[in-house]
């Protein structure tokens, strides 16, 4: 279980998070929602150790990981699919996957398994990552994170700007991982998508966690959406 409690963080002197707390449980999809600038992406980066925390802790199954050097965090099998995909664009598809495999010293078996999930990538192994289509790039970004055999998977708007069939494919992968017991933390803007797959929703407002509700409770009280998202 990934527990984020009361973290304060930001970029240099610009503080973005003023006490955000959330929990990602194994076998559940926790969605993070909030308006633009509420701190969703910042929270993800802070969990990965990419931003310094001035207060608060991040812990995984009781171990505090927010005091580790940033490159040690992924060794705990936390996979990250960042916003905007952020592939190693000069590297080939195979090399991008190789970097993912190196993180937790995974081998051939994992590689084959990941490529079976995304057969399109297998056809393009030697192509440079930046020459892939948007959907294929998203597949690769997801595949790269799956190479860690993650216990926790962070996905930051994985369906942004994709065609419906691709969104469905990504959704399938997320649901399968959840069923395998992975704790999933998903940043998502589209309300219908969240209602369809989330187990729990945490709302961020101005860098603080405002509310955490189950998806059933959210369906029952639609004015929550209006209050935190303005929709």
């Amino acid at each position: 279980m990934l527990e984020v409690s009361n973290i304060h963080s930001g970029y240099g002197r610009v503080q973005i998070l003023f006490g955000a707390s959330l929990t990602a449980r194994p076998g559940e999809i926790t969605c993070v929602m909030g308006r633009n600038g509420a701190g969703k992406t910042t929270a993800m980066k802070a969990i990965m150790g990419l931003l310094p925390l001035s207060q608060g802790t991040v812990s995984l199954d009781g171990e505090i990981i927010s005091t580790l050097p940033a490159h040690e965090v992924p060794h705990r099998r936390i996979g990250y699919v960042p916003q905007g995909r952020r592939l190693f664009s000069d590297l080939s598809v195979a090399e991008n996957i190789e970097v993912g495999l190196m993180t937790c010293k995974e081998g051939r078996a994992t590689r084959d398994e990941v490529l079976d999930i995304f057969p399109r990538l297998r056809e393009r192994l030697h192509q440079r990552a930046e020459t892939l289509s948007g959907g294929e790039q998203q597949m690769l970004a997801t595949a790269r994170a799956l190479c860690l055999r993650p216990r926790v998977l962070l996905l930051d708007e994985p369906t942004e700007g994709l065609q419906p069939s691709m969104i469905e494919a990504i959704r399938q992968v997320i649901v399968t991982l959840r069923d395998q017991g992975v704790a999933i933390l998903l940043v998502e803007q589209r309300v219908d998508a969240v209602l369809a797959i989330a187990d729990r929703v945490t709302f961020l407002e101005n860098g603080r966690s405002a509310d955490t509700v189950t998806v059933d409770a959210l369906r029952a009280t639609p004015d929550l959406m209006h209050r935190y998202l303005g929709v």
């Binding site: 980066k45 990419l50 960042p82 592939l87 190693f88 000069d90 970097v99 190196m102 993180t103």
Partner: protein, 301 residues
């Protein structure tokens, strides 16, 4: 013929030195003004090693070929940890910091090594006469004109540099260390998010870059002599090469090193070394005007 051979020797060492500069800039986005001093240190250490070992020039040379790049690389890695990491690789501050490093290295060499230029004996140095062709009674015939000669050592420089460059290419494209370096170059933050210890990669790259400069210097020092001010010229030429080739583009660096090295050699022989430098600088200006990203650079990094 002779001129292009001289040019090839210049190009060979220049390619090594510039490659180091380009690698450091590509991965770390650091403009290393002290790069020429690492080159100079390579030459000075080569002199030191070969006079200490001093039995046979070949033993001293092989010793220098191993010791100098390793020592310079370690020194550079330490400088990276102690200085560059502390100022967070901020682009402006790294330039000032490496200028400081330049003077520290240069002046401490003056204090210890002294102001003299000291020669290093080449491991082997036989004169090789080069054939030429002329129209004789029975068509083209080969002859050995007087003065057309090179030394076996100069040929060795070219071969060695090519071998080292191929080795570097293999390291970068075929090994895990190379993959880690290229991933760090592509996206530092994501490299961290996938467990790559970026600080250690930076120290390694900075050391490797300096080591390449030192290697270039060890190769050239039997031809040129070691001197505490010898770093300025290769620094300038390396910058020219790296700008023409495209900052951070390794193939571009090689092409530009060949271009500048060959033209420098040829023009120096037929006209004057000053004209060669003037033309090289002119090429830089033209490249900056018409193709600011360099020959093989990408438009917006």
């Amino acid at each position: 013929m002779l001129a292009s051979l001289e040019g090839a020797v210049t190009a060979a060492t220049l390619a090594l030195t510039a490659m180091g500069l380009s690698l450091v800039f590509g991965v770390m986005r650091v403009v290393n003004v002290a790069h020429g001093e690492f080159y100079m240190l390579g030459a000075v250490i080569a002199w030191f090693v070969s006079t200490t070992l001093g039995t046979h020039p070949a033993i001293g040379f092989v010793g220098a070929l191993i010791v100098a790049p390793v020592l310079v690389g370690l020194l550079a890695a330490a400088a990276d940890r102690l200085i560059l990491a502390r100022i967070n690789y901020d682009p402006e501050r790294t330039i000032v910091a490496t200028i400081g490093l330049l003077y520290i290295l240069q002046q401490s060499t003056l204090m210890t090594f002294g102001p003299d230029a000291r020669p290093v004996e080449p491991p082997f140095n036989s004169r090789i006469a080069l054939p030429w062709w002329r129209q004789g009674e029975n068509g083209l015939e080969m002859f050995y004109p007087w003065g057309l000669a090179t030394t076996s050592y100069k040929l060795f420089i070219i071969v060695a540099a090519v071998a080292i460059l191929i080795g570097l290419w293999v390291l970068l494209t075929r090994t895990r260390i190379g993959l880690v370096m290229r991933a760090t170059q592509a996206d530092r933050e994501m490299a961290t998010a996938f467990g790559i210890p970026v600080e250690r990669v930076y120290a390694m790259v900075f050391g490797l870059g300096a080591g390449l400069a030192a290697l270039g210097a060890v190769l050239i020092v039997p031809v040129q002599q070691a001197h505490y001010l010898m770093g300025a010229d290769p620094l300038l030429l390396s910058f020219i090469v790296v700008i023409i080739g495209g900052l951070g583009s390794l193939p571009g660096t090689i092409i530009a090193a060949l271009l500048i090295g060959m033209s420098d050699g040829i023009i120096s022989v037929f006209f004057s070394p000053t004209l060669a430098k003037i033309l090289a600088t002119l090429v830089v200006a033209m490249v900056l005007v018409f193709r600011p990203q360099g020959l093989l650079g990408k438009a917006s990094a």
